[in-house]
Symmetry: C2
Subunit: 448 residues, 2 copies
């Protein structure tokens, strides 16, 4: 068969690329080819274990694509022929394309060195419904769960399993949870939330081996300690799924991601790459980065799709800011851009300011929650490099406010004269709005 | 007595001006003079009738001011002597100042033409604790409440009184509620929320007279209809409280607000004016505006205080954007900048786009809420002129995101390549984020 645009991969990036491509070029034939019959909402996966109870309630619907006239093929591309501009599939099809978008995503890490990794009841967290359903079913009769890796997904799964009554321990080799996303103080606060809810956290210690005869029985840690484990969940991060691109001769960067330019084009003019499999560069430093986020993937997808047929210098991807957040119980934790440690490590001279208030006013309102905002600002020019938020349910969008400040190159002076809207039932008070107060503290420190 | 900086008025604007002035000039003596022993959180006032039950839980605390070393005087300035740079007070004090900030606020409108306005159980909604406590107490034994004026405060009070079991009718002379803040469709949706909750709404009809012998019994409408009313609440807006400024010879604009420049200085170099009593100009049109918001007042206060002793061209107030929101039950309504009708009326050629999604992903999560975002964009250059949001508790901060887009002169192209963070428990999905989807719709229309 023949299609104008072929998109390999049907998760967030593939879906958004297809919808945007069709929207921008209604006359073109757009085809998505994917392995999965049913696609999972990627970020929703941790919640199938508790809050939504089943993967059936976590499905990325095809209706949008179908309604727009995008063709969906459930099959697997096994070879990309750059010269002939076609792809061969597992089912034996040959699909000719004009433009190709690679959105093959990432796969969970299962370290080859880890003894016992293939025992029964050792799981990873891929975006594969069939696997997740099996995994979920198996957990039913397993009580003691050890999760290796306290990144976002690790702690979200931990919290959900704890919620349904499992005995959950998280093991993290770093001295704190949530990787290096947050400054230490925020990371400790997140840890305390987890502990308060009953999740056990074992930091600063790596895993040596998973013990058991046919199924997992214990986890042996680097310090010689063992933890009883009816199940072990490996949440050690993801690696870009680039086998296909590699075989096709597309260049990979030193972290193993498909190299792309600001339009998300690979070295091959008609082939684009987006999402977890494609190169990321940090917004502030321009350095290669490994950040994998569905939200970033979707932004990349929009940029690729808008530049497919004609390039536009105003529709480029300017580097990953890294805006992300999670919720543990009623408390949410958000970060945008660089945290203080990263900024210093990169060589920025920074000033930070933080302010803690309440996200309603008066604070006596029932659903009020503490709200902390921290800003990380470049000392020489006052540019906002990053921010962190701890608060209630508005933490996500408030972190997005900081994301927009960074994307717009706002200085701390711009922020302190900014207008924000406030309302008793929805935000902090105008007189004690933590974002503005934090900016004031930084501005004062800069004046010194 | 003598003070470096004298601030007249202790509500949001006065408080923020005092804190900012002290923070910027720790060596200066800062004094706030205000009539009220105890200050109300202005935007929290509607909620004393229901959600927080008492004005005692809606107090703007003095602790921040006191801790910073700001002096608070409870007294009333009766004369400002510009030449001598002093103020005379009701209690007979003369206070000399170097810099003066007028933050005298606004008073509720009680139309002189309205017959029956002085009957017992006719109330207005000032920021006066003593009055509010009396008003609140009186309401205890009054069941049928008629509220005249369906602006933000009118409908918030209506919803709160309805919540505690009163029989509430709102009368609005305009054909819709919430003034002209929202486009008609959003205003209708807000009205439907109110109706669903049991508040009666009487639109397109003005009030002619309040009937009763000594206390209010009925409201006579312009169409001859009458409504039984044990109490009538006049929520007809506010007029700037400028008696003092007028007496001092400071210039007022044609709407009766104290004229100021971008530093919030009046014609008199050492006298600044901020908040409800001071001039507002629209961000997009530069035209005089009557918008009174505590959040805007606080931004003006920061600007005035930062420019008190030394001017800074990067710390100016660039015009009121008008970012505001309210909540009716679980649904919140937000607006930033111009709505479509206003934009067209002002002479802009606009394109709008709106998208309705869900504020969680998967949408099956318990606390998910419909989320609608509408963007109003200038046709000639793609600049974001305004936006509206209907959604759950994150509506406030999401409206603030739009506010920042406007303040940063972002175009719709900037928005569609923007990075936003998303999380299942906190926001819409990255593939169906209504703000981005609305921008895409506008971008497509602009291209078309």
């Amino acid at each position: 068969m023949k299609t104008d645009v072929l998109i390999i991969g049907g998760s967030a990036a593939g879906l958004v690329a297809a919808m945007t491509a069709k929207s921008c070029n209604p006359e073109k034939g757009i085809t998505v080819i994917r392995k999965e019959e049913i696609v999972m909402i990627p970020c929703g996966i941790p919640y199938i274990f508790g809050s939504v109870m089943t993967s059936d309630k976590n499905i990325l619907p095809d209706t949008g694509l179908i309604k727009m006239g995008v063709k969906i093929i459930v099959d697997e591309v096994i070879t990309i022929n750059k010269k002939e501009k076609n792809c061969q599939t597992k089912k034996g099809e040959v699909i000719e394309y004009e433009k190709l978008i690679i959105a093959t995503g990432s796969n969970p890490i299962k370290p080859t060195w880890l003894k016992g990794k293939d025992l029964k009841n050792v799981f990873v967290i891929p975006k594969d419904k069939e696997y997740l359903d099996y995994f979920h079913k198996q957990l039913e009769n397993l009580q003691k769960i050890v999760i290796i890796g306290a990144g976002f997904i690790g702690i979200e799964v931990a919290d959900e399993l704890n919620k349904i009554g499992k005995d959950v321990t998280v093991v993290e080799i770093l001295p704190r949870i949530l990787g290096t996303a947050f400054d230490e103080i925020v990371a400790s606060e997140a840890e305390q939330c987890l502990l308060d809810r009953g999740v056990k956290v074992n930091k600063g210690i790596g895993i040596k081996e998973i013990l058991g005869s046919d199924k997992t029985e214990e986890v042996l840690l680097n310090n010689g300690e063992t933890l009883k484990a009816d199940a072990v969940i490996l949440s050690l991060g993801y690696v870009p799924n680039v086998e296909l691109a590699k075989k096709a001769g597309l260049a990979l960067n030193e972290f193993g991601f498909i190299e792309v330019d600001q339009y998300r084009r690979t070295g091959e003019a008609d082939i684009f790459a987006i999402g977890d499999c494609s190169e990321k560069r940090d917004f502030a430093t321009g350095k290669l980065s490994k950040t994998m986020l569905a939200s970033t993937a979707c932004a990349e997808a929009r940029v690729a799709a808008m530049n497919l047929c004609k390039l536009s210098t105003v529709k480029t991807f300017r580097g990953t800011i890294g805006i992300y957040f999670t919720a543990i119980g009623d408390t949410a934790f958000g970060v945008a851009g660089l945290n203080k440690e990263m900024a210093i490590k990169e060589g920025f001279d920074v000033v930070t300011g933080s302010f803690t208030g309440i996200d309603r006013h008066p604070g006596k309102l029932d659903d009020s929650h503490k709200q902390m905002v921290k800003l990380i600002v470049a000392k020489d020019n006052g540019l906002i490099l990053g921010g962190e938020v701890v608060g209630g349910t508005s933490t996500g969008e408030l972190t997005n406010v900081i994301g927009f400040m960074i994307q717009n190159n706002m200085t701390v002076n711009d922020v302190i004269v900014s207008q924000i809207g406030t309302h008793p039932m929805l935000t902090a008070s105008p007189a004690g709005y933590p974002l503005i107060k934090a900016a004031e503290i930084v501005a004062k420190a800069l004046k010194g």
